[in-house]
Structure formats: C-alpha cells, structure tokens
Amino acid sequence: MVKKKILITGNEALAEGAIQAGCLFYAGYPITPQNELIACMSKRMIEMGRVFIQAESELAAINMVYGASAAGARSMTSSSSPGVSLKQEGISYLAGAELPCVIVNIMRGGPGLGNIAPAQSDYFQATRGGGHGDYRCIVLSPSSVQEAYEHMFKAFDLADKYHIPVIVLGDGMLGQMMEPLIIKPTNHESQTKNQKPWALTGCKGRKPNVVKSFFMAEGDLEKFNLKLQDKYREIENKEARYEGLFLDQAQELIMVAYGSMARIAKQALLNLRDKKLKAGFIRPITLWPFPKEIFGQVVRKNPKVKFLVLEMSYGQMVEDVKLAVNGRAVVEFLGRSGGGILSEDEIIKYAKSI
C-alpha cells in the first residue's frame, strides 16, 4: 500500500479502514447519520470481490454477521443509535457464541427516534451489555477521522484475538465531518494469521463443528460464564487505553472526555492552561475496558484534584470515572445532549466555577 493523504468523512474512513483490515462481509441497514458508511461499503466491498448485503432490518443484519463470523470471515455491521438498539439481541448471541465481529455505532440523539444530531448517549448500552446476559464488548472510541480509520484495524484484531464483538463508538459529528486522512501501510495482524479451527466450513477430514450459545446440561452454563469472566478480566488487564495530557505533574483539575467531545474539551483545556490554571486531560480510548488505573495515579499525585467529566449526554461515562476514583476525589459533570453540544466557552466558564 502506498502512503497517501486524502480528504474524507469519518464514515468513509471507517469503511476504508474496514476494507484495509480485511473485512470480508458487511451487512447493514440505512440510518442517518451513518449512511455514508453503508454506501461506501456497497461500492468498495463489491470492487474487492467481497460480500455486501443491504439487509431487510437491523435484526437480519446482525444475524447475518453472526453467520458470516461463524463461517470464519472477518465481518461487520454499522448503524446509528435506534438501529443499534435493534441489534442488541444479536450482539448477545455473538458474545454467547464467542464470535468475533465489529459493530460501528455512529450515535445520534435519543431516546426513541430522538433526532439525527450527534450525541454520546449510548455509552451505557455499549459498555454495559445492552442485550441480555453477563457479557461485555470491547468498545473503542475514535476522536478523529484518522483514528476512525486506524481503530478499524485494532477492532478486527481484538475481535479475532479474544473471540468477542468489538464496538466502534463514534457520533454523528465524527461520522459526518471531513478531515485529512493519511493512509499508510500498517502492520496489523492479517486475517490469514488468525486460524479459526472452530469455523463452519463443512466437516471434511474432522469432527463436525457446532457454533452455539446454548448450555442446557446442569452446571454447563455457569462453567461457560466463568470462562467468559476470565476472558473479560484478561482484557481489562491488557487492553485498556487512554490519551493523557499534562499528567506527569500534580494538577488541580483533570478534564475527562472521549470521542468528538474530547476535541472540544482539549481546546478548552489549552485555553485554561494559558490562563495559568493547573489542568490535565484524560481521554479514554477504550470505554470498555475503562482505563481505571490512571485515575488512581492522578489522585496520588494530588489528593485534592478535581475531575470534570464532559459528555454529549446527561451523565453516563461519569459513572465509570466515579467508580475509578472510588470516592478519593471530587468528580464534577457537565453535559448536553439532544442536539446541543458543549462549546469551548461553556466548558471554560464551568471549569472556572468549580
């Protein structure tokens, strides 16, 4: 692959990232504000001789992904909030059958049909399961078009490594905005490296494979759930990622934000630092596993530090921050959702008041 620089929307960057990461199967259903993604996939997947299906519903799309993954292919779907709600049953089955896949959610306002403005109000749904049962999905949150592209490689690699659904959680702003994207050769694990001896290929030369999430015999489901929990602990120990700024010294205030919100928060932070406020910044990149450790480290540097969590919701990630801080410091929250997005000025004004 030759290195090149192009101007592209976040949705298209996600699609192109998936293509380059070796996605062999895409099924989706139109919904704003992620339509550029499905449109781009319909063109690119066919060009590449891969499978693209516009499904009759989100339910069909996620269950097609289940089938594609059971057949051993790198597979994905994408949608926006109301559509992702419809996929939850399928995501629970994918988690239960330990099938790797990637699900992109370009969030919009809710609840219900809500509106098509950017929002971050599906954080609970993405990080707490959403569907039934004790399961987790790895959740990645890109905050730029470049990261949207690069996260797709990471998403497919993690999905294959841990046999787990991976959610790439963006919002309408990231999906719709255009930024320069540098396409460069990456050294991600190629899909050929991932042997899938459990996949359904026909039982020639081996015993039949069965892909399922059903455990009726007494004790079997509990045993399976404990195995899943072991896997989730391993992921929590190894895969938590964040971007930190000015965390090497003791600070009075730490802003915490992810995704598009983090772009605005970072500008506010730099502005406040120009005004001599001692402030740092944490941007969780993996929302599950949540990067808990860094919060403890920050509190140890200054026990009187205050955290300010900024979200395009009415307070979802703030609960994870509070769990990570565990009562050792003050956690403040500021958020807007349903069409409104916090401005740099609003953030600065609020930060000065606490």
Binding site: E56, N63, Y66, A71, A97, L200, C203, K204, V210, V211
Partner: protein, 242 residues
C-alpha cells in the same frame, strides 16, 4: 446376513429428547438420509432453530450453527454467500419461520438465496408449552387459545408456503406430511429434491413438512396421525405448490 437398513452416517447414534409420537425424529432422519444419498455430508452446514428442535445439531453428524429465534435464514444467507461451495440449509418450526422470523423468511426468499429450507409445521408451539402458532387450526385449543382459535381474534392459519410461492425468486415449494409411510416416502423425495436444487444452483427451495405433536394436541400418537390426515391436510393441502 446382508444389512439392508441402518442409521445414516449423517445422523449420530444418540437418543433424542423428543416426545413419543413427535415428527421431528422422522424429519431429522429424512434430512440425514437425503444428505447421505447425495454424498454431501462433508459440505453441509445446517442451521438449527429455536423451538423443540433447538439441539438438532446434537443429532446430526455435520457442521451446524445455532440461530436466534426466527433468524436462521439471515445466518444461512451469510454463510452461503461466503461459502457458495457448501450446502447450507435451515430447519425451522412454524413459530420460528412464520411468526417471529417472517421478515427474514420473506426477504431471504425474495433475494433468491440458493438455500434449502425444511419447514416443520405442527400447528403449535412445542418447547414453550403448547401455545398458538401462526399455523394453528381454527378451533384448535392451545395454551393461549383455551376456547379454540377464533379468526376474529387470532386470524386464520397462515399459509406461508403459498405466500412465498408468489415471489418470482422462489424456485421450489412442496408441502408434504409425515402421517403415514407413503407420505413419509414422498417427504423424503421432496427434501432430497430441495437439496438437489441447491447443488444445481437452482435457487430458494422450501419443503413444508406437516408433523405431529401428540403432547400439545392432547391426543394419543395414532389419533394425532389421523388428525393430521383428516384436519391438517384439509387446511394445508399436500403436493407441489411451486
């Protein structure tokens, strides 16, 4: 002495969990015989439904996947598109295929996916305890139609095979029954044809198999077979639909 009848290779040597007089055991065997006779056991991928036959993969001796209730044809579509050389089929009950999965059924058929569908119609929900199915007969008493199915409240038995036959992309539909040995032989022939069609790339093929549920029809097994012949086949006429 020459052995003239034995268990198909595509069927495991395992006791099933089905009730006495249930049709699933026969239908599983017919699928296995067809798979053996066509020599496709190592290429077949079966999709089991949610319903009484949820663990069909414990009885068949080839690759299988579970599917969420009603979504077997979405799962099958993806597998067949990725692996056109494999022979992919779904095995679904009336609730799975004609109630909760109606959208998947119609749209998979309308896309003309080259798949084989074995549709078991026993006019009732078995695994959950005998509730009304979309194919329950008028007047039939179930756990959720205690006075019998009333068309003004519950609608009429859904003839999904006839509905599907109206789609240009559907290539083969036949309704068969398991109420006596002659009809079982015809069922076997239809099931084999539906697999043969996929091998030849003909397109979407479905066999509707009328099957008995003595437990939730509240009848002894022999009476259940009579009821199939006298009542069910009147509402669901046998033979080639398309």
């Amino acid at each position: 002495m020459q052995k003239v009848f034995s268990r198909p290779q595509a069927l495991k040597d395992k006791q099933t969990h089905y009730c006495p007089g249930c049709g699933h055991g026969i239908a599983h065997r017919l699928v296995a015989e067809a798979v053996d006779e066509l020599g496709i056991r190592e290429e077949v991928i079966g999709i089991a439904p949610v319903g009484c036959s949820v663990i069909a993969y414990d009885y068949w001796n080839f690759d299988c996947s579970e599917a969420a209730h009603g979504r077997a044809l979405a799962v099958a579509t993806a597998i067949k598109r990725l692996k056109p050389q494999n022979i992919v089929f779904t095995y679904q009950g009336d609730g799975d295929l004609a109630a909760i999965g109606t959208a998947e059924t119609i749209h998979t058929a309308n896309r003309g996916e080259n798949l084989t569908v074995i549709f078991i119609n026993n006019a009732v929900y078995g695994m959950t305890g005998g509730q009304m199915a979309p194919t329950t007969m008028l007047g039939q008493k179930t756990a959720t139609t205690v006075k019998g199915r009333d068309p003004t409240l519950h609608g009429y038995p859904l003839k999904i095979s006839e509905l599907l036959a109206s789609l240009p992309s559907v290539k083969y539909i036949e309704r068969v029954s398991l109420h006596n040995p002659q009809e079982v032989n015809k069922a076997k022939k239809a099931i084999k044809q539906a697999f043969q069609n996929q091998i030849e790339g003909v397109g979407f093929s479905l066999v509707e198999v009328l099957s008995s549920c003595p437990t939730y029809w509240d009848m002894p097994p022999v009476k259940a077979l009579d009821w199939m012949k006298e009542v069910m086949t009147k509402e669901f006429p046998l033979g080639r639909i398309k």
